[in-house]
């Protein structure tokens, strides 16, 4: 049953067009056979997709971004799970202060974090190292990881854990075999959102990335400010395709809205 008026449906169509237009245009331009930005008027060509893989800088940046996303999301989750358990289970002094602190990177503009990390990493001599950029990304993704894990821990029924304890299970066994399986959806969701956030981040990374630790978005940003060519369009199209694939998989197995509610504050 659709309760919307024709006018509302028209608005909806215009809105969706607006949302999809820039992505669609990229995907079209990516298939051009010309050497400049243009629609593929004389046939679809994969020439610019091949060009991506011949450019070692983009390939390196891509691998770095993947590695960065995986490592920082994993570290963030490993830290967020115990913290979320503490917040959900205990009423301790400083609880609300801790919570506010842990969520606060979301409120700090990324440009400020970039500035801060650049000074900090330079001072301690970690500028240009992988570990340096990983740590800065952990801070950025932590709030998202924490929020999603927290939401699954808060909804948890503690009786199963109590039952396990009464049957003589150790703390670790309870965590591993009872708690973790129950909070797994939140943990997976938190990890995915953290990975995506890290993989897409550009504003802060522009500061902390050095020539040897350039992430893909930073590399693309630098490229676009110099020139907008079909190569960058095909690379962007490739990223859109990958995102779409991931999105459909997530939606299939998990429910996209569950992950995306974590993105809005």
């Amino acid at each position: 049953m659709n309760k919307n008026s024709p006018l509302a449906l028209l608005f909806n169509i215009v809105f969706l067009t607006f949302m999809l237009a820039p992505l669609v245009i990229i995907c079209l331009v990516a298939f051009t056979s010309n050497g400049y930005i243009s629609l593929p008027t004389n046939g679809f060509s994969l020439r610019w997709f091949r060009a991506i893989f011949e450019d070692s800088q983009f390939v390196d940046a891509f691998y770095l971004s993947i590695k960065l996303g995986v490592v920082s999301a994993t570290i963030a989750i490993l830290i967020a799970v115990p913290a979320a358990l503490a917040f959900a289970r205990y009423d301790f002094k400083g609880r609300s202060v801790f919570m506010a602190l842990f969520l606060s990177p979301m409120m700090v503009p990324h440009i400020v974090l970039g500035v801060a990390f650049l000074s900090f990493l330079t001072t301690i001599g970690w500028y240009g190292t992988f570990i340096g950029i990983v740590l800065s990304h952990v801070i950025i993704v932590m709030p998202y990881a924490l929020r999603l894990v927290l939401s699954s821990v808060v909804g948890l029924d503690q009786r199963a854990e109590k039952a396990a304890v009464s049957l003589g299970a150790s703390n670790w066994v309870v965590f591993r075999h009872v708690t973790l399986p129950m909070i797994l959806p939140g943990v997976v969701g938190g990890w995915v959102l953290s990975f995506i956030t890290s993989f897409d981040e550009v504003t802060m990374s522009v500061f902390v990335a050095s020539p040897s630790t350039t992430t893909l978005p930073v590399k693309m940003y630098a490229h676009i400010t110099e020139t907008i060519d079909p190569l960058i369009a095909s690379l962007s199209a490739l990223m859109i395709f990958i995102t779409m694939a991931v999105m459909f998989l997530l939606d299939r197995f998990y429910g996209l809205d569950k992950i995306l509610v974590g993105k809005g504050k």
């Binding site: 509302a8 969706l16 289970r89 205990y90 801060a116 900090f120 995102t243 504050k265």
Partner: protein
């Protein structure tokens, strides 16, 4: 809740949150404090760059120079414009989505929220391609004869605003959507049965009740626009500078880190002030009717 009398339970929450706490102290608070300190240092090429002496030079420079006034003002105006547009577009869209059901609803949701998962750089590139003088927008407007010379969108405020609305409006939709979800599904019927027209139901019953969602959505959009970097940088170019791109240029262009730090600190402070006053305002206004 567990009992608090057990001494183990008094230590455990601190143990559990200690990794996060250490991380935040070492990698979040210290860098921010360092930046604050740096913003009070000065920069002197003759004395080898950053001079570690406390002074207000940078703040005086930023707060008295009309060049910086212009940049702060542009950022503020941009944020207001983007926020207003996001409210005007995102609220009705959220409402329309709310009234849809089944497959169409999921498809529309996917189309609106999916772009959130695509890097801002990619989305901005899309607009850059659309905006070019040989871009699709100009070509089609020329073709149907609405205009006879290409309109300039690249490197204009209008272009930056359009792209930022695209980047940020999903947050608005999400926020309004969340408050529509909390609405009693029968509330509109209640209004109708009391003799109100659909328009009055919308104006006097639905909108006031989703106001908290609209307001918190605007806050997110405003804050994110004020600190947006990639989009204004790519579409605004060198001339249309905003606070974030200025700080970037000071840092990586002229290498005046203390001045860049001062600009960043001012952005952070302005952000915090706006967010907290706005929250206070919302709380005062809605504390009685909403919890």
């Amino acid at each position: 809740m567990n009992t608090l009398s057990n001494p183990v339970n008094q230590v455990r929450p601190y143990l559990l949150s200690s990794p996060a706490l250490l991380l935040y102290i070492g990698l979040f608070m210290i860098p921010l404090i360092m930046t604050l300190m740096l913003s009070f240092y000065s920069y002197d090429v003759d004395r080898g760059g950053v001079v570690a002496e406390f002074s207000f030079t940078n703040y005086v420079e930023v707060l008295s120079d009309s060049y910086f006034h212009g940049i702060f003002f542009r950022t503020f105006a941009l944020s207001i414009a983007v926020t207003v547009l996001c409210v005007l577009l995102g609220t009705p869209e959220a409402y329309i989505l709310h009234r849809m059901s089944g497959r169409w609803k999921s498809i529309c949701m996917l189309a609106i929220l999916g772009p959130l998962l695509v890097s801002v750089v990619v989305r901005t590139l899309g607009w850059a391609i659309l905006f070019g003088s040989k871009g699709v927008i100009n070509e089609s407007l020329l073709a149907i004869g609405v205009i006879d010379t290409p309109i300039k969108l690249m490197f204009t405020n209008t272009g930056v605003i359009i792209a930022l609305v695209h980047v940020l409006v999903p947050f608005m939709v999400l926020s309004v959507w969340a408050s529509l979800q909390k609405l009693d599904p029968m509330i509109e019927n209640a209004g109708l049965s009391l003799g109100a027209s659909p328009f009055i139901v919308l104006r006097q019953i639905v909108v006031p009740q989703i106001m908290p969602g609209i307001l918190s959505g605007s806050l997110i959009v405003f804050a994110l626009t004020a600190s947006a970097f990639a989009t204004p940088s790519i579409l605004g170019g060198r001339r249309l500078k905003v606070v974030a791109t200025t700080a970037y240029d000071e840092y990586l262009g002229t290498l005046n880190w203390p001045l860049g730090a001062a600009i960043a600190v001012l952005l952070l402070v302005a952000n915090v002030i706006i967010i907290t006053t706005y929250n206070k305002f919302i709380e005062r206004k809605y504390s009685q009717a909403f919890k």
